[in-house]
């Protein structure tokens, strides 16, 4: 009697495992950037309730995502830093942008309200190189003639962990200041000559709020939700712009995607009077000749669905969907460049 029950339990357990395995096999697997993780998982939840197909996305960082897709352990990789066309070619990968976000400088200066301070790239670069050390420096005053700035010492705060946020910020400063480019440069982590490093958006936000005279930079969603004192930035067209969904989308729309081979385009410092200068896209990487065409097709179906239905959800989390023209271009890329994938 007893052994019969045990046998039944074993059968039940084994069949559960088998079915669970089958369900997992149908899931889309991906790995990479942490920045788009909240929106990818939100899309995945909605997609699963509609279609029954789940997404298994490991937010292990862009570097990890690139390694995983090259090792063929996942169906797609995600990176905040686009791969160069020649690297794509060498690895047999196709790249396309998925979602847009922005990085926002935040400050903590007594008597300065959110959005009141205006800075430009060269000034921010000088601050992060330790050349401007007081808030009442002539170069800051020149951009803010009406603001009463105190003589507080500037405490620059940077992201200590390697991140797409670091890449966009240092890339923007490199484009704005030749000296920054030659002495520091752009990467997911760089060697900052001054300031203190805090871990993650939350660390930077916290250090900036705690320290009098601090300046930091965080993802837009973070600045918005914590109601920090963000700054305006003077863009390439010479206009002071406020960070918001419209100015990010303006930057994405004014970019010349048509002539960017492999979508290798960094959205910082774009032309256009309304463009926010520290805007960036997060990218997806898939195989040009997928070893498992069905899996890649399933992934592309998910991305297609996200382009079509994901805009509102993205806006709720303060991400910015791609402009329509760009989405059409990406769909055309799928058709021509990915072998064996049918939508």
């Amino acid at each position: 009697m007893k052994s019969v029950t045990v046998k039944r339990m074993v059968v039940a357990a084994v069949s559960t495992v088998v079915f669970a395995g089958a369900a997992l096999a149908a899931d889309i697997s991906g790995a990479g950037a942490t920045f788009p993780y909240p929106i990818y998982s939100k899309w995945a939840d909605a997609y699963k309730t509609q279609t029954g197909v789940g997404l298994n996305y490991q937010s292990i960082g862009s570097g990890g995502g690139i390694k995983q897709i090259k090792a063929k352990t996942v169906t797609f990789g995600a990176s905040d830093m686009p791969l160069k066309p020649e690297d794509l070619q060498a690895a047999g990968l196709v790249q396309f942008p998925m979602i847009i976000g922005g990085v926002v400088p935040v400050v903590h200066i007594k008597g300065v309200a959110p959005g009141a301070l205006v800075l430009d790239g060269a000034t921010v670069a000088s601050i992060y190189m330790g050349e401007i050390t007081k808030w009442d420096d002539a170069r800051v005053k020149k951009l803010n003639p009406k603001l009463a700035l105190p003589g507080t010492t500037i405490a620059p705060v940077y992201r200590s962990d390697g991140s797409g946020t670091n890449f966009l910020f240092s890339d923007y400063l490199s484009k704005s200041s030749p000296k920054f480019q030659s002495s520091i440069g752009a990467n997911t982590s760089v060697q900052w000559p001054v300031g203190i490093g805090a871990k993650g958006n939350e660390g930077v936000a916290n250090m900036t709020t705690q320290t009098d005279g601090a300046i930091g930079y965080v993802e837009y969603a973070y600045a918005k939700q914590t109601k920090m004192a963000y700054t305006q930035l003077v863009n390439k067209a010479g206009k002071a712009v406020t960070p918001n969904a419209e100015s990010f989308q303006a930057a994405a729309a004014s970019a010349d995607w048509k002539n960017a081979a492999g979508y290798y385009l960094i959205l910082t410092d774009q032309a256009g009077p309304a463009s926010w200068p520290i805007t960036g896209a997060s990218f997806i990487l898939v195989y040009a000749a997928p070893p498992d065409a069905a899996a890649t097709t399933a992934a592309l179906k998910f991305f297609d669905w996200a382009y079509k239905n994901g805009g509102k959800m993205a806006a709720e989390l303060d991400y910015v969907p791609l402009p329509d023209a760009l989405i059409q271009q990406v769909r055309a890329t799928w058709k021509t460049q990915i072998k064996g994938a049918t939508l």
Binding site: I66, S160, G162, G185, T188, V190, I196, G197, K199, T211
Partner: protein
Amino acid sequence: MNTVAAISPKHAAGQRRRERLFRGATLGAALLVLALLGGVTLSLLIGAWPALAHFKLSFITREIWNPVTDQYGALAPIYGTLVTSFLAMLLAVPVSFGIAIFLTELAPGWLKRPVGVAIELLAAVPSIIYGIWGLFVLAPVLQRHVQPWLIDVLGPLPLIGKFFQGPPFGIGILTAAFVLAIMVIPFVSAVMRDVFETVPDVLKESGYGLGATTWEVIWQVVVPYARTGMIGGVMLGLGRALGETMAVTFVIGNAHRIGTSLLAPGTTISASIANEFAEAVGDLYTSSLVALGALLFLITFVVIAAARLMLMRLERRALGSA
């Protein structure tokens, strides 16, 4: 007589086989540890090789850490690791010693258990909690009240003054050392307490019987008897301080620079790895991070070997004097 007769030869053979099997299993378990250790060392060396071959000795003598130009030197993390651990032990060992002596020799019976349990609970708090506490609670307090005082009072002094200069960020080498000290106190004090408890009451009572004061009994009976165990406890704490990652990452300021001031931000080996490994692209970069891991492995190994050596020498001396 009856019981001996009850064991049949067949039974005895089965018994022997089981014993052999058990011996084999335990030997296998012990060898597994060695194999793991060998595997870890080997994979660290293979991973670190490109960086070590490229930078040679300059990897441990240069302060530069620049992913943009692919130039890496581990001096700043090595310095940060050693200094934070040293300061942490400087703070933690006397306090732990006090706790252990109080609990075993001085505390009234009703207080021993609650304090003992509280310390054991502290040891079980995950390190990320200490990190978050350090960043959100300790750092602002240090920044507003402690560091300005250090800068004003100790900063202008000759010699030690240069350790306490610069702006009060709240986080930095000193804050990391504070958090580490708080994290290792439970370990060190728990071991010390257990060691002090092994001192035979007869010895202590003999001391008191000869008219010794509590102070004399502690210093001349308890501490000499427990010395080796105490060093073991300190080394356990040091091992934890050297390798601690998350809590340090939150409060050290993560700058690949060596500042003379203890208030300046720095970095440690494990904090650098935790910060940068996930987004590290490029062979030399990842290899340099693995090489950092190998260095930490080496430092920990040297510390443990030194502790063993010290213990052996102490034991030999104790035998010689007996």
